[in-house]
């Protein structure tokens, strides 16, 4: 390999440098129909799962075919997306917030060819490259984080469990048979880069053991006060220990105060926390972000721990599928998972789903815990 220089000279970093230019202006990538009817859209209709027609005041129409994407995506795949967009969509394409890809065209005939083409393409191994769906009252594509593919703090993988879950709810992604949209999300640790805290069903990687303390390296690798300050339960304190016959500055952890968030590890690499056999996933349900009918809400933990079972996480997928099935069979039209649980009451949620309620599901984190306990004699036997 010979280094190919662009012209950048490390000795003169400022020479010819361009900075602070930001992103491209959004409007230069509008398909012509979008540019023409900007701000003048009148209504939309989902013609079939994954296909949306938007109609403008001018009478112009645009047909969008939405396909699920795996957010971890190769450039070979992106180039194939470009080929498709060049063939059917005048070279334009967009992505959604939830990792879907949207191909747009302005006539119905092209849309049908595009849709069939997208549905027909497969990766080696047989998975679909561009599954059409993800509209209306469906189980939507999952947003997720990096996991073992590219992150240093995960308690589980992300792409793998997402693939496994989406495989078992594929029918629900491709049809619109839910009472309301069901938004799934996965964060591979409680940092929640994937923000699962307001999802209908959120999966979050959790550790279950306090960190180990690498006394040999703590003082060299870490600003110890930062690790101490990072602990939300005051379990971490500075200390001096004997190591290799020497007194060294290090860290002490009160194990019974630790709830394994790993925030100290984020600040201090000498506190490794991952543990293959005991890390896993908690399931949280009933969150939402839309203001529709009810207020936005946090997801609540209904399964405290499911072990990591790569490559297909069978216990996790079975549990998620089961929650979705019970919800779909019992909720009213337009009722999100959390609205359904609130209406029937949590007693009935656990009765209907058969999930075990344990002390782990009772909040004990700070003052917010009290507000989740029940201060009334109204409950169901």
């Amino acid at each position: 390999m010979a280094f190919i220089s662009t012209g950048y000279d490390p000795k003169k970093p400022m020479e010819g440098r361009i900075t602070d230019i930001g992103p491209h202006k959004y409007s230069q990538y509008f398909p012509p129909v979008i540019a023409k009817n900007f701000g003048k859209w009148q209504y939309h209709e989902i013609l079939e799962p994954g296909v949306i027609m938007h109609v403008a005041e001018s009478g112009d129409k645009i047909y969008t075919v939405r396909v699920g994407g795996s957010r971890t995506m190769s450039i070979t795949h992106i180039r194939e997306i470009c080929d498709i967009a060049d063939k059917y969509c005048d070279g334009f394409v967009r992505w959604t917030t939830r990792n879907n890809i949207e191909f747009m065209c302005s006539d119905e005939e092209t849309m049908k060819k595009l849709r069939d083409d997208l549905n027909s393409r497969e990766f080696a191994g047989g998975s679909k490259k561009f599954p059409v769906g993800g509209t209306g009252a469906c189980v939507c594509n999952m947003i997720h984080t990096q996991g073992w593919v590219h992150c240093h703090t995960p308690a589980t993988d992300a792409s793998g469990p997402v693939k496994a879950v989406m495989d078992v709810v594929f029918k629900e992604f491709s049809e619109m048979n839910m009472p309301a949209p069901v938004r799934l999300a996965l964060a591979c640790c409680i940092n929640m880069c994937g923000a699962v805290h307001c999802s209908d069903i959120g999966l979050v990687g959790i550790h279950r053991k306090p960190p180990m303390i690498d006394h040999e390296w703590a003082d060299q690798l870490c600003e110890i006060p930062l690790a101490v300050a990072a602990c939300p339960t005051a379990a971490v304190r500075p200390t001096k220990v004997e190591y290799d016959g020497q007194k060294v500055n290090s860290i002490a952890i009160k194990d019974d105060r630790c709830m394994y968030c790993g925030n100290c590890y984020t600040m201090c690499p000498a506190l490794p926390i991952a543990d293959g056999e005991t890390d896993g996933i908690a399931i949280m349900i009933g969150g939402k972000v839309a203001n529709r009918i009810t207020w936005p809400a946090f997801s609540k933990v209904v399964v405290a721990y499911i072990p990591n079972e790569p490559p297909r996480w069978p216990t996790l997928t079975k549990t998620v599928k089961h929650i979705i099935e019970v919800y779909a069979a019992n909720a009213r039209k337009y009722e999100r998972v959390g609205d359904w649980a609130n209406r029937i009451g949590w007693e009935d949620f656990f009765r209907l789903t058969g999930l075990e309620f344990s002390e782990h599901l009772i909040d004990d984190f700070r003052e917010s815990a009290y507000y989740s306990w029940r201060q009334t004699t109204q409950f169901k036997f």
Binding site: I21, G22, I78, G136, K163
Partner: protein, 437 residues
């Protein structure tokens, strides 16, 4: 020929959902074949090593990425995240495997020319693996080595006229819903506000000077498709003040079954005929609608703009014309103090270009937070620690009932000294004249 056997990962190649394993293998095969005869600037087998390490993680159920590593491009404090394998002898092709965040256009529309150019850069100088997109919204280029960072930045800025995104304790890359480009619910031009503010605050985005990260997100309506209320420190959510526009003939068309409710979103199941009373009127959270069998009436003064009726009958009901946005601040994920949703700060603000009112508000919030915020404290946590009142003082926003779910339930009120006649200086001698010890 694959470098490592990956029996566990191979199991993720089957099933209908797009397989990231199959995709990575496809890219790896592309690099082996090297059809464009490129002089790859990072090892050609980098993705073989990635799959090898991932297989090891699947076996051991632990990650093999080392903690952090500070790398970047000259003059920026963000946009690049260092990543190193903790088994570099076993997997030399990913010994260093850094991430670059690339600023995406608002609403994530692209043309293929841009995408192909970006792919060409990443083919030559990176692993060929991306995230489309990262959680915050950037295009994420996944996996390159330190000497390539400046070269990639040079090509991005010179050849693509595009910048890096944010990381670290700075303004993170802002994100918007697709807004008025293709949505009839959008109450303002989310993409333009996102673009304008991103350009305005380039310095804050590239050079970390904040206590912690800060996110803007722009939702065109209360449906909240970019989740600004849950995922941004500063959420701008479109709203309106006047009346929902009703087309009574089209309401009847919904009632008569001519139009499918909710734009056809429930077509996958037989929910029976549309019942406007049950499905719309009775679901209205403020009970401000009536249907008399002939006409729908809305008591707009009591409407809380939840979007349900409009979502359900988009051809008959439309958002009002006196449009602006509600500002909610302080949302964050659970680390460290627990999750927070955004809280209403300003109920209605102008969304007209050049967005001066919004910028003024942002600047006041930042002045306060940069002064008072502790290291790694998100705005929401500073608010909790110091009080909502302190934020009101800092932003000069008046207190109003729409900012609370209910008034306080305790009488532990901090009055300001100048609110109480005479202030805190008191005359003990006079008191003792009235009261014996």
């Amino acid at each position: 020929m694959a470098k490592f056997k990956t029996p566990l990962l191979d199991e993720l190649e089957t099933g209908p959902w797009p397989s990231f394993v199959a995709d990575i293998k496809q890219e790896s095969a592309h690099r082996d074949a090297n059809p464009d005869n490129l002089d790859y600037q990072i090892p050609a087998d980098t993705l073989d090593d990635l799959l090898g390490q991932l297989e090891l993680s699947y076996k051991e159920k632990e990650t093999h990425w080392k903690h952090g590593g500070i790398v970047g491009v000259f003059g920026y404090g963000g946009g690049v995240i260092g990543r190193y394998s903790d088994q570099p002898e076993m997997f030399p092709g990913i010994a260093a495997f850094h991430t670059m965040r690339v600023a995406q256009p608002a609403g994530k529309y692209y043309d293929t020319k841009f995408l192909r150019k970006l792919c060409d850069i990443w083919d030559l100088r990176g692993s060929g693996l991306t995230n489309m997109h990262g959680s915050t919204g950037d295009i994420v280029l996944l996996g390159t080595q330190t000497p390539q960072l400046e070269e990639i930045f040079w090509e991005l800025t010179h050849d693509l006229n595009n910048d890096l995104g944010g990381s670290g304790s700075n303004l993170r890359t802002p994100a918007a819903c697709l807004g008025q480009s293709r949505c009839e619910y959008a109450c303002y031009n989310t993409q333009d506000m996102c673009y304008n503010l991103t350009e305005e605050y380039q310095d804050e985005l590239h050079r970390p000077a904040f206590p912690y990260k800060f996110k803007f997100k722009f939702d065109g309506c209360p449906n909240g498709c970019v989740c600004s209320m849950a995922r941004s420190d500063f959420a701008v959510i479109g709203t309106w003040k006047d009346d929902i526009k009703i087309d009574q003939e089209k309401v009847k068309a919904y009632v008569g079954g001519e139009f499918k409710p909710n734009a056809g979103s429930h077509a996958g199941r037989d929910w029976g005929p549309f019942d406007i009373q049950k499905e719309v009127v009775e679901r209205c959270p403020s009970q401000c609608m009536k249907w008399d069998g002939n006409a729908l009436t809305i008591d707009n003064a009591n409407c809380v703009r939840c979007m349900h009726c409009i979502d359900t009958m988009p051809r008959a009901l439309r958002i009002g014309d006196e449009r602006g946005a509600t500002i909610l601040v302080g949302a964050k994920a659970p680390v460290v103090d627990g999750a927070q949703l955004g809280s209403v700060l300003v109920p209605f603000i102008s969304t007209e270009e050049p967005y001066d009112e919004i910028k003024e508000l942002i600047n006041k919030i930042w002045d306060w937070w940069m002064e008072e915020g502790k290291n790694r404290e998100r705005l929401g946590e500073t608010m909790k620690r110091l009080s909502f009142q302190k934020l009101l003082d800092a932003t000069e926003v008046p207190a109003q009932p729409c900012q609370v779910k209910h008034p306080r339930t305790n009488p532990f009120i901090f009055f300001k000294e100048d609110e109480v006649p005479g202030g805190w200086k008191r005359d003990l001698a006079a008191y003792r004249q009235r009261h014996q010890r």
